[in-house]
């Protein structure tokens, strides 16, 4: 029982982090119709910047710097994509894969075989809550995620930018004719997307994980089942999908010995199995906009 509770707690905290990453994908997609495959390398960039700056400036200042650097990086990608001839969304997505290759290669080279520490204030400390042991860093991550996601949902609902983004995502052409500045919607979407990636990158590299290693940019790929489960253009879907993926991973890994017939490391594959199952049933995810075609 304790074990199940513990796995659920770990799954929930992991799930909230996936929700942050998934939200980054979804916001950029809603604002610009681009699937940003470079989200993974932005995540690694943020964490790398924090790990390099923290020894001299401390964790908090480094985190701010890391977020600023990552936002600058995502704005650079937005600028590059805006230079593209034509606006074929598949071509733009492929261009982000190119950016990802460059950034990941460079970061991997710089990190090398090292495991970089975030020098965060929580370290390896844990808390016992009703018989369940949870790392402090994960509790902090959950708190940050809940606050960030809550603020974002309010932003979409109540601010002018949020309305503009929803309008742009529903019908970019009509929104543009109604006077919504698509360029500004896109810029803010990329900024938020970058900041979310950086934040998730930092928490993904704190305890219980050992630190930032050269595989960091693949972490964001693990959030892809989350956005497909929820639906590419659904912010609520990103949260539900993220938590589902976190839970699935945690439970499959936790009961790995009982599920031994599925092979070692099945926990990492489980989200993809779920994703394919959902796609067979609903091709645009659980909460994604279904496309209706009228002739």
């Amino acid at each position: 029982m304790t074990r199940l509770l513990e796995l659920l707690a770990v799954g929930l905290s992991l799930g909230m982090l996936y929700a942050l990453i998934a939200m980054g994908f979804v916001i950029i997609y809603k604002g610009t119709r681009v699937v940003n495959f470079a989200q993974g390398s932005l995540l690694a960039l943020g964490a790398y910047a924090v790990a390099r700056i923290a020894p001299s400036a401390g964790f908090w200042a480094a985190s701010v710097a890391g977020i600023v650097i990552t936002v600058a990086g995502s704005l650079l990608i937005r600028f590059l994509l805006s230079r593209a001839r034509g606006h074929d969304h598949m071509a733009l997505a492929i261009a982000t894969i190119g950016v990802d290759v460059v950034l990941t290669t460079e970061l991997t080279r710089r990190i090398g075989p090292d495991v970089l520490s975030m020098l965060d204030p929580w370290g390896a400390a844990t808390v016992r809550l009703g018989g369940v042991t949870v790392p402090q860093a994960r509790i902090a991550a959950m708190a940050v995620a809940v606050v960030t996601l809550g603020l974002l949902l309010m932003l979409f609902r109540y601010t002018g930018w949020g309305v503009a983004m929803r309008a742009a995502s529903a019908d970019a052409e009509a929104a543009s004719l109604m006077g919504i500045r698509l360029g500004r919607v896109a810029t803010v979407s990329w900024m938020i997307g970058g900041a979310l990636a950086a934040g998730a990158g930092v928490f993904m590299s704190t305890f219980p994980s050992a630190g930032l290693d050269s595989h960091a940019s693949t972490i964001a790929l693990a959030a892809i089942p989350a956005i497909i489960l929820g639906g590419l253009d659904s912010t609520h879907g990103a949260i539900v999908g993220g938590i589902t993926v976190g839970m699935a991973k945690s439970l499959t890994a936790g009961y790995g010995s009982e599920l031994g017939f599925l092979g070692a490391g099945f926990g990492d594959v489980m989200p993809y199995v779920l994703m394919v199952a959902v796609l067979m049933w609903r091709p645009s995810g659980l909460f994604g906009t279904r496309e209706f075609i009228r002739v």
Partner: protein, 389 residues
Amino acid sequence: MSDRTNLVSRVLPAVGLILALMVPFYLSGFWLLLGVMVMAAAIGAIGLSLLVGTAGQLSLAHAFFLAVGAYAYCWFAGAPGPGGGGITLTGLELPPLLAAVLAVATAGVAGLLFSPVAGRVRGLYLGLASLALVFLGQHLLFNLSSVTGGFNGRGVPELSVLGFELTGRDPELTLLGVPFGDRERQWYVALVCVVVASVFARRVLAGRPGRALVLMRENETAAGVVGVPVSRYKASAFVLSSMYAGLAGVLLAQAFQRVVPEYFGLVLSVEYLAMIVIGGLGSVTGAVLGAAFVTGLPSLLSHYSGLLTFLAEPGTSGVDPAVAARLVFGVAIVAVILLEPGGLVALGRRLRLAVRYRADAAGPGDPGSPPDPVGHSALPPQDMTTASS
């Protein structure tokens, strides 16, 4: 002018083929191996280009289907026995040529199994969904160790016909004073495969299915209305591209002589995407050019790393040839999409037009009309879809 174009389009491939046939008599093992790898990659890239460029369906699963082809061949043709790391391998010991055909078919079946998703899910969603196959594939390759040999991989049986090794050294053979070892033989096998694969792809694209796929890419509803069975065509395009990948996998396995799971990861999928984008989406020639660029670059950089002093030794923290190659093709993907979405093929076409314009302008009399501006549509259809219409 059309006579000249016709002549060029007929003569050029023939000259290329003759040159390709002569290569093994003049070049050394390194170049032959590189050539075999490029040709194998070209076949895989043609398949992916059919899917992404023509049908407009993004797929990142290509590495998975390459793996299916490579490992299925090893399993069908391989002998049971002890593998590395205390693993007992299984195998059917079928005749290698039959095994190769079955391997391509297996890749097709694997594509077919995914077709409930591939047929219904469109564009970017499919690109994301296809990631599942890469990760699932890696998991299977590491865990189905009696088939794949697990972490250590598995040796690749030689391709042979009635005891004559098509890709090996047995029996020994010398032609015109040149000893015909495994690399020379692999070169010809790969050449035959790449010619057949590209001719077949051109036929498919120039015919009914090709036109239907282009129409589907442009407007799915319109395609449905004029009677194209959209889901079935999408699924078929996916299966066909998987079979191309399967064949590429069999040939690559011959070149490597040992297949290991690590090779068939996401990086490989991205490399294939890079090939078709850099070469020019939706074009057979582009796929071949892109395959040569992406496959050749790392090998060439490491081969000439002695001359390229700015490159570091592998294993040090500097920019080694592999890293440099990855940086170059990452930048190339972005640059192609930003500057010339038609890729190398469109660049070549533009260059040809510019040269012809100059020649016409310099010539006496007829000033000639200025060449048509080359369009910047992201997916140039000229090369294969309208060629024969």
